[in-house]
Symmetry: C2
Subunit: 164 residues, 2 copies
């Protein structure tokens, strides 16, 4: 039985979701959005993300942290902003002794939708369906974080193993 | 009198330099390169950078940490790799209670060279000259880190103030 924390990092908003298979089905133990004040210095925003992710790791003690590889960034500036947030998330995992696994966006979509290149909202709907959530997780960052966690959980179950 | 830690972040190699004005001239109190093993997982590499930067902050207790804004990345992948390293450096500063200042690459070059758009090796030579170093700091990451720290120190001296 594997418990996975999925994270969709960003400096302004960082989605997270903790999933585990309980009694034959996957459930979401916790999920939400870490928001940071856009008026705050970048270093302070990163500190907020680091503290929140560290607290989530401490509370739920997942076996793995799953994040998306970022192949397709809109531009270098966006990539750097995402990279900064991703860096402190990976650091929190390393300092907490939790292994990190990475999946491509396509692997994540494939694992939660029937169609490899599903529309954005299909991911949210499938995540809600698989996890038995009362509604589609909102915003996309939260749905994506749950999808990343589910991707790892579903692959582990299928014996595909994680990509460390 | 201001003591500044300049950092040129990267996941593989992270240059750093601590400068301070002592007896009418700028001196380098410490400088070097933090290297990480390319065979190690990214999270572990970021942890190495975080620990080393935290140790440098602890040892030298600078008034400010200075980094370059990254406007011009070769591509999104490079930007994300730099962003991750930059993220843990900024986090180390925030957790250490040290303010972060940012300068554009052009501001850094202007402050240490007579010519705004100097060649890469001019920065190293000027850094060595200003700091009275026996030779040009090597590799570029170290020279750049010292240049960033000097940029902040020289601007503070000129009453230009820092850009927080």
């Amino acid at each position: 039985m594997v418990r996975v924390l999925g994270v969709d990092p960003g400096t302004a908003a960082c989605g997270y979701g903790v999933v585990e298979k309980v009694g034959g089905r996957f459930v979401a133990l916790d999920y939400g959005l870490i928001r940071t004040a856009h008026t705050a210095p970048t270093a302070d925003r990163l500190q907020t993300i680091y503290r929140e992710i560290s607290a989530i790791l401490e509370r739920w003690r997942p076996d793995r942290v799953a994040v998306e590889e970022l192949f397709f960034a809109r531009n270098a500036r966006t990539a750097m902003a995402v990279g900064q947030a991703r860096g402190v998330v990976l650091l929190a995992a390393a300092l907490g002794g939790v292994p990190v696994v990475e999946y491509t966006p396509l692997e994540v979509k494939k694992s939660v939708t029937t169609y490899g290149r599903g529309r954005k909202d299909q991911v949210g709907h499938m995540v809600a369906l698989i996890l038995g959530l009362p509604e589609v997780p909102h915003p996309d960052d939260v749905a994506d974080a749950l999808a990343i966690a589910l991707c790892d959980g579903l692959r582990a179950e299928a014996g595909l193993g994680a990509v460390p």
